[in-house]
Symmetry: C3
Subunit: 323 residues, 3 copies
């Protein structure tokens, strides 16, 4: 379903909703495009005229300053006009439905919706109902997917490690509720890494998680042994004192990453985190700020990846309009 | 009063506050200008450099995401810089008066105020006290006027119907509290339509409404008979369960537009609504989304009309500055 | 400390944090640069391409629509991209520390932070921890400093009076809590005015205030005698009914400026206020709007001064990057 919705018959991105359903070649094309934008942020003039006169709407039904900010910067560096709409506090309070909101923004000749929503499947819903001239990008939907986050992680791994096939990647934390983890696992397997591991207590793993193509570990030290890449996940505050975890202190004791845990990992292993970090929960500051950490590179690459998918989706629609 | 305030001796728009007081020729000039902008939204680069380096301030004392958004897009597509100020939550909380807010924004060399306010007459007040170099556009004031909404409705009617003189136009709903209806009635009569009708229960009609140049109907089927255009008005939530109406369900029974009511209308009659729609209150979804509906065209035309009045008012001031 | 942090070895501005520590020559250079931008606001196209492709982040930990607006306009008129972040309501609610917020924005290739914070020293803290490529401007920190406000005041005085050396300047009001007053006193003494006076009740003066280089007056009429410039300070609402003042009415009786108090001042004395004015508290409307008032010129000059320090700090970093 995703595949046909987000890719046209010629294999071009029409929307970017999910890593699932994209081919290895398509993921590589996204990273190659991001590579061409990675230099823009280092230039004196951080701007390319590619999308001048296009209107990108950040349609956020759930607040996320960081994600909204990176999309806003990416769109502005492509010279697009950006409209930020926090929908929970606007039209819907006047009783307007989501579909009516979409129809109205389309009638204003918006070219793209960047959608963030608390419910899984929301971005697919928007893409399914969007006008033909409008591209949709999923900026995170419920526990389902966060594909630009996964792609910036892949781009970061590729920039540091070069090849995916020899890598062992361990993902630590709340796999159960993480849209990021789901997208990462799909991307890593599609890109052909040797092994993907998840490390978590049983309570934070989805049922039948092995079917996603991962090896399950409950012990942190065993899980990171010989790993090339360790991805720590953000622990949502609302989980910290809930039924699934004894306490955030105990979580850190068992799953908080420190240098001591990393002695068994590959000497050149890197540590990642999608941010914002809870220091002393998912990892300690020595690790977050240490030489293995590529956490801030992830943020930088997030701009390049978002410029890439925005421009690719926009180009996909331009081709259609010409055809 | 309006006339001299919003039009200079040579007939150029200095402000755009009210349809009342403008001549047929002036309304046509606004629509002709909008016509020249209507194509911009369909272009690949939706932008003209007309107002580069101008500062347009959206001065909203009352929240309205939709109206603010269309003005923001219109100004950006004219290449102006846009400043969004939600005044209720800013300066006034520091005890600053409206006049001081105006003086300060003028001192920052703002070129235009787009004013939305809950009180009737607010935009006129601002225009009367604005510095000579500043243009003012009324984006809705109390129950008084919403002239850009009325003009986008006229523009939509003209684009579909061509001529105004042979038309019968019926306006259905809460005429009493509607700034939109007042502006529409003035515009329609100025443009010389054959007949303007209002259809509402007595409780939602202003006293002596006939003096505005309308025929009064209380029955929906009779009111839309032979009509070319049916404009439904938004029913404000705060009216729905008040003293003036039995209930929103009963309102829909008597005044909610459905295909069944339209059998007596002209075969090519169109249905309009200023949005956002309360589906199942002012009209049913079959009608809102049906072949007669031009509701989304109204939204698209709203951008062109706002580009037109922003650029005309700005041009009026440029002429003065040169003189 | 400030000096070395905000000025490099060649005397160029790296950050703009405080008037204290800057030389007379440096203050004059800021005003000369502002002079070159003062004409931009009067032009038909109020924009120069100097900072195209640069990203300026308004990092406001304390709401201030007016200051944020002037920085936003200044940056946009320099053609920079502007990102407004109200931090109290975003990342920190997710438990992210200030340093992590900075690191993330730097990783997004922000070029400049304009920092507003309720705690004294916050902008210095940010500057001390910012990446080498990032410039920091203090937009007001606690009771400590508000250097762009002080410089726009100096610029206004220079434009009206020409020379600083012959001037007697009286500052009236809550010196104790005013970051503006501290910055003004430093600037005025550095620029070599003949005399700086402060006029306030003992309860609104800091201990040992004379050591800042001012003469103390408790009586308004005596304090403004022969003054060339009278600067009134904003009385914060939270002080009005507190322990330090009997009441705002009594404050106006003793320290509220009216024409009657000004008979002893120089015939061409000017009256200033940083805004927003509490009319009938710090001064009456006759004085605020009278011929001596340059309060709105201050606002206009605020844009030019902010354009000046933004461009100078950005240029300081560009030189470093090239070296």
């Amino acid at each position: 379903m995703s595949a046909s919705l987000q890719v046209d018959a010629a294999g071009r991105l029409r929307h970017f909703l999910d890593v699932e359903g994209l081919s290895r070649q398509q993921l590589i094309e996204i990273m190659d495009t991001a590579e061409s934008f990675a230099g823009v942020g280092d230039r004196s003039v951080k701007k390319v005229p590619l999308l001048r006169g296009k209107t990108v709407v950040n349609l956020f039904f759930e607040a996320s300053t960081r994600t909204r900010t990176t999309f806003e910067l990416a769109a502005k560096r492509l010279s697009a006009d950006v409209l930020n709409l926090n929908v929970s506090t606007s039209a819907t309070t006047k009783g307007e439905s989501l579909l009516d909101t979409l129809r109205n923004l389309e009638a204003m000749q918006a070219d793209m919706f960047v959608v963030r929503h608390g419910e899984s499947g929301a971005a697919h819903f928007v893409a399914r109902h969007a006008a033909p001239h409008v591209g949709v990008i999923n900026a995170g939907d419920g526990c389902h997917a966060h594909p630009t986050q996964a792609m910036l992680d892949m781009f970061t791994i590729r920039r540091v490690k070069g090849e995916f096939t020899p890598l062992t990647v361990a993902i630590v934390g709340d796999i159960l509720h993480s849209r990021v983890a789901r997208s990462q696992i799909h991307a890593l397997n599609t890109l052909g890494v040797r092994e993907v591991r998840v490390i978590a207590p049983q309570t934070l793993l989805p049922p039948h998680v092995e079917q996603l193509g991962v090896k399950v570990h409950h012990d942190l030290v065993a899980g990171v042994r010989d790993a090339d890449v360790i991805i720590t996940l953000r622990l949502q505050r609302e989980r910290m004192d809930g039924r699934l975890l004894p306490s955030k202190h105990e979580y850190f004791q068992r799953y908080g990453l420190t240098e001591a845990h990393l002695t068994g990992a590959r000497p050149d292993a890197i540590v990642m985190h999608p941010g914002p970090i809870n220091r002393g929960v998912e990892l300690d500051s020595g690790t977050a700020d240490g030489p293995r950490s590529v956490i801030l590179q992830q943020v930088t690459h997030g701009i390049a990846i978002r410029m890439a998918v925005i421009s690719m989706v926009m180009a996909g629609h331009a081709v259609e309009a010409t055809a």
